[in-house]
């Protein structure tokens, strides 16, 4: 069996408050494969960073900003949303597997929602990995 792949979370530090959920390795307590990288605003996340993470072997990437409409810096979350949707340059490369990228728009209080969504995402990514490895083995 292949090694379990990691999930990288790129999160705005004003969105879902993950500080209380982190262990000393900057990953979520109870989910050691989910790592967290914090940004001053989700608008700072470059599509390039998502591509780099997937290329380096991450199983998936979670982008988490504040609720759409509420951004401390006015429009950061709308910017990264539009970039992910390809409506604003620079966008994600076409080759990037869209199933491996999830965007969440959560306010500071919604860390429980983040946990449940992340758990779901991790199981989905594991499923995806399995499908891909069986497809590879079959061919």
């Amino acid at each position: 069996m292949a090694d379990k792949k990691t999930v990288i979370t790129l999160v705005c530090e004003r969105a879902a408050d993950l500080n209380s959920l982190l262990d000393k390795n900057e990953s979520i307590v109870g989910m050691p494969d989910v790592h967290v990288v914090k940004f001053p605003c989700s608008g700072m996340i470059q599509p390039l960073m998502i591509e780099a993470a997937l290329k380096a072997g991450a199983g998936g990437v979670i982008v988490c900003g504040c609720q759409i409409g509420d951004c401390y810096y006015r429009e950061g979350n709308k910017m990264i949303r539009d970039r992910l949707l390809g409506e604003r340059p620079p966008g994600l490369k076409k080759a990037v597997d869209r199933r491996r990228v999830m965007a969440l728009w959560l306010s500071r209080m919604q860390k429980q929602r983040f946990l449940s969504e992340a758990k779901e995402f991790v199981t989905q990514m594991a499923k995806l990995d399995q499908e891909e490895s069986t497809a590879k083995a079959a061919s």
Binding site: T6, A58, Q67, Y72, G76
Partner: protein, 400 residues
């Protein structure tokens, strides 16, 4: 020595209490907004249009005001021109009682003014609670306070225009308040009355102040928006319909009427207070004039300079930096910057490109949105270079 130490601990204590208060207020705001988002989705959440709401009511006020202006007669007495008395009060009566839907238009004009003040306060409270009024946003806050004062004064002049007993009383109270001011009091009083006493010219002056200052609002609003890229100034249509419907509902539930016509030979002494606009007259009646002026001035000045006194926990602003030899002049960061802090200037001689991005430091919020916009790694936050972030992401992503 001891006193200064004590002062500092006092200050720290105050700071802590203030920070805790803002923290709790921030959480409360977010909780309310989350609740509204679950109910009606974030697209229609009025809290996300808190600045656009008073702006919308301003358009409603302009439109309804234009209709009222067509029939309003700004005099107290034009007996020389007509057998019947036609003045401000009778013209307002005509608008209200005889003109089709005149009463509705008048009601819309009055209640939209109240709604505008209410939403301006909500707007101010939200930016205060979410800590979005300091540092690079000071110009929005300072012009906001000026706008609020202007709106309050415009609303008060609206109350003089009706020319019922309350108008007369308010005019006289204003005159005595201006009279109490040293040096500038007398000229201000002459300006306000357009002469020494209340005459026909007084009413036309009130109308001019009411309308002229309303248009001056547009100029200050320009200053209010000047550093905002894509300011949110229109709520979605669905919200607009609800805003108008709310006003219409109040207009029909509580129709507007005037008091008795003002009579210069009498001295009315009681009136209904509109708490949105006339609270300062209530204060004026309940304290010595000097205390009134000093406290009002202190309040206005204090509110304006508030952003420079509040130092809370928010991170220090370290402006973004352009990497000159990497910038291609594509202007993506310039377009995406939410505070118009990036300017495109001609590239230095010898460059392969025509333009170069530069950061206007006092406007920068160090949010990093420009970093997200840059596909060439040419703009950076000094405290968090994207190269560092990329290495961190790569090392985390590697399968262990």
């Amino acid at each position: 020595m001891t006193s200064s130490v004590k002062n500092e601990t006092n200050n720290n204590w105050l700071k802590q209490v203030y920070n805790q208060f803002i923290e709790a207020a921030n959480k409360l705001t977010l909780a309310i907004e989350d609740g509204i988002n679950t109910a009606i989705t974030s697209k229609y959440n009025p809290f996300y249009y808190h600045g656009a709401l008073p702006q919308f009511y301003l358009w409603v006020l302009f439109l309804s005001g234009l209709l009222l202006f067509a029939y309003y007669v700004p005099t107290i007495d034009n007996a020389y021109l007509s057998n019947r008395l036609i003045n401000a009060w009778t013209s307002v009566q005509y608008i209200t009682n005889s003109l089709p839907f005149g009463g509705v238009i008048r009601g819309i004009h009055r209640y939209s003014g109240d709604a505008m003040v209410l939403f301006i306060f909500l707007h101010a409270i939200r930016v205060w609670f979410t800590d979005r009024y300091r540092q690079y946003r000071w110009i929005q806050w300072a012009t906001g306070v000026i706008l609020l004062l202007m709106v309050l004064f415009i609303g008060q002049t609206g109350y003089y225009l009706v020319w019922d007993e309350r108008s007369l009383l308010l005019t006289r109270m204003t005159v005595s308040a201006l009279d109490a001011l040293p040096i500038i009091g007398a000229p201000l009083k002459a300006w306000f009355l357009n002469g020494d006493t209340i005459t026909n010219l007084t009413l036309s002056n009130f109308l001019f102040i009411h309308i002229g200052l309303s248009f001056a609002l547009l100029f200050v609003l320009w200053l209010h928006y000047v550093r905002m890229t894509r300011p949110v100034i229109t709520p979605p249509p669905a919200v607009n319909f609800i805003l108008v419907a709310a006003i219409l509902l109040i207009v029909f539930l509580v129709p507007i009427s005037s008091g008795n016509m003002a009579n210069l030979n009498t001295q009315p002494n009681t009136y209904d207070v509109d708490w949105f606009f006339l609270f300062n007259y209530w204060l004026m009646a309940h304290m010595p004039m000097s205390v009134f002026w000093i406290s009002m001035t202190a309040l206005a000045v204090g509110a304006t300079i508030l952003p420079w006194f509040v130092k809370t926990v928010s991170p220090p602003v370290t402006p973004a930096e352009v990497v000159i030899n990497k910038c291609t002049g594509c202007s993506l960061c310039y377009r995406d910057c939410p505070y118009q802090a990036i300017e495109m200037v001609p590239a230095p001689a010898g460059s392969r490109f025509k333009l170069l991005a530069t950061v206007n430091v006092p406007r920068c919020s160090s949010c990093g949105i420009c970093v997200g916009a840059c596909a060439f790694d040419a703009i950076d936050l000094p405290q968090l270079p994207d190269a560092t972030v990329l290495t961190q992401i790569k090392s985390l992503a590697e399968v262990k």
